[in-house]
């Protein structure tokens, strides 16, 4: 459904060049739900906007939904749906009017467009809001309308840029169900970006990890977690975590140690076997262990291993201009 070859985009700003995307190569097969995971400023939105024909690449090629991105943008547009990160509704327009207009821009006749709008509003828990001005919707309702706008013409390939931002747990679960339905019922391909690890884990068949404009890892959530190859032992300590971390880092079977709030996080090959040994080391040094837990790696651990940063930090991206 998607193939990119060295796709890149550099922005010119007053402060200099910003290399937002530095040559990404990846494939998305038909019928897949693929997640684009990365911290703020990693280049997720820029990549999606290029693939959706909204932004011209500065280098590279791509085939999107069977059409060449540069030479046949119109054929690409006919086959994709796109939901922007920042919303796409007119505050003074009415809910149903927005959906009908969007469907008609795709050449769908009015009666059909109206039927699709009604069906989609019901499916996304927006039934009864048809005649409301958009500005009277709640944030989560407006987000669901954004999503409906990207789906109303039934595209075989859907780009969703952080679709679940601002949704409550119930709406989020409902949205996940809907996205799975797009794949299972309609055979659609979904390419979404997210910050939520649980979302990527639960929803995606495959994940692309992007950082500083490059794809740094890819695979199914399970495969990615296996690549980290190791369990995480979290020890809550009464003493100084930094000293304990230094001590543990020197142990032979320890792969990585990270001080966390009130304790340390240790990556080891086999958590169940190593946990006791780690505790003994700390005991021996006179550090009291208040509690201990062993966990299989999460996607956050994958991310930490790949990039040296935690996704949850959500630190503002360092200007990628100078960084390697």
């Amino acid at each position: 459904m998607i193939t990119t070859r060295g796709l890149a985009r550099t922005f010119k700003t007053r402060a200099g060049l910003v290399e937002a995307v530095r040559g990404v190569d990846f494939e998305v097969a038909a019928g897949e739900i693929v997640g684009f995971l990365g911290p703020n400023g990693a280049g997720k939105t820029t990549t999606q906007r290029m693939l959706a024909t909204l932004l011209a690449p500065t280098a590279g090629e791509a085939t999107v939904a069977g059409a060449d991105l540069r030479r046949e943008p119109r054929r690409v547009r006919e086959r994709i749906g796109y939901v922007a990160q920042g919303g796409m509704t007119n505050p003074t327009a009415l809910v149903a009017e927005e959906l009908v207009m969007q469907a008609r821009l795709f050449g769908i006749p009015r009666p059909d467009a109206e039927a699709r709008a009604r069906r989609l509003l019901a499916e996304l828990d927006l039934a009864g809001l048809d005649a409301r001005p958009v500005k009277t919707l709640s944030g989560g309702q407006r987000r669901r309308l954004d999503i409906a706008l990207g789906l109303v013409h039934g595209p075989p390939l859907v780009f969703l840029d952080e679709p679940s931002t601002g949704l409550d747990p119930h709406s989020r679960a409902n949205l996940w169900g809907h996205i799975r339905g797009l794949r299972d019922r309609d055979g659609a391909t979904v390419f979404l970006t997210t910050h939520y690890l649980d979302e990527a884990d639960a929803l995606c068949d495959r994940i692309l990890v992007i950082d500083h404009g490059r794809v740094v890892a890819e695979g199914s959530p399970e495969a990615l977690k296996r690549r980290v190859s190791g369990d995480v032992v979290t020890l809550a300590l009464d003493g100084d975590p930094a000293a304990a971390a230094a001590l543990l880092a020197a142990q032979p079977n320890v792969r990585a140690v990270q001080p966390v709030d009130g304790g340390v996080r240790v990556t080891v090959e086999r958590g169940d076997a190593e946990a006791i040994a780690l505790m003994r080391v700390l005991d021996g040094a006179g550090v009291r262990v208040a509690s201990l837990s062993v966990a299989r790696p999460s996607l956050d651990d994958v991310f930490l291993t790949m990039t040296g940063r935690s996704l949850r930090d959500d630190a503002p991206a360092a200007a990628p201009g100078g960084a390697p």
Binding site: L54, A56, A84, M88, T92, M101, L105, F106, G107
Partner: protein
Amino acid sequence: MTRPIREALVVFGYQLRLILREPVWVVIGLIQPLIYLALFGPLLEPIAKATPGFPPGDAWQVFVPGLLIQLGIFGSMFVGFGLLGEMRAGVVERMRVSPASRFALLFGRVMRDTLVLLVQAVVLTLVALAFGLELVPGGALITLGIVALLGVALSSLSYTAALRLKSEDALAPLLNMVSVPVLLLSGILLPMTLAPHWLYSLSRANPFSHVVEGARAAFRGDFGATSLAAGLVAAAFLAAVSLWLATRTFARESA
């Protein structure tokens, strides 16, 4: 019906419903020309009689077409601000990601703006009748056609400027800077035939001055006048060039 026209009509219908929901803007656009009509028009009546070099026709036949052209220019000049609002809301991007032709996305808006302008122009002409304008119906219709062409031109230009500048803070000073010389060199308020030679020559370089003279010829029923033909050509030329420019800008990725 060809596809771009159908798509433009979709955009037109959508945009028209949006403005009908807040028709106060249509009314506000009319207030300024009505004030000119009521407070400046009566001043011209004695001047027209006493001044050699004043164009033929009575004062209202000279003044009202000028006001209509002014409405055509200023009524459409600010539509770019509305587009900037929609860009910020993501509505423009949502339309651009559809396969609709870029021309249609632009022209649907331009059609809406032009329709609004024509409604205002008709109201203004009817009010002028009450002030004593002697109407030549055919001439008034031709003038409305000229006003429509100007509406197409100015709203296209306004959208072009908005798409390129991408900010209200840059658009507002640009419009201010351009509008005053265009207004003064067009002979809208006082005919340029009253001007000293250098000023008159300068005004000839302003296509709007030809448009104004053409509209005046039409208004007094002088359908054979070369100035009428020149005005129509100038207005059509402005409309075509602006529309081409705006469509190109709409198709560019940065838009």
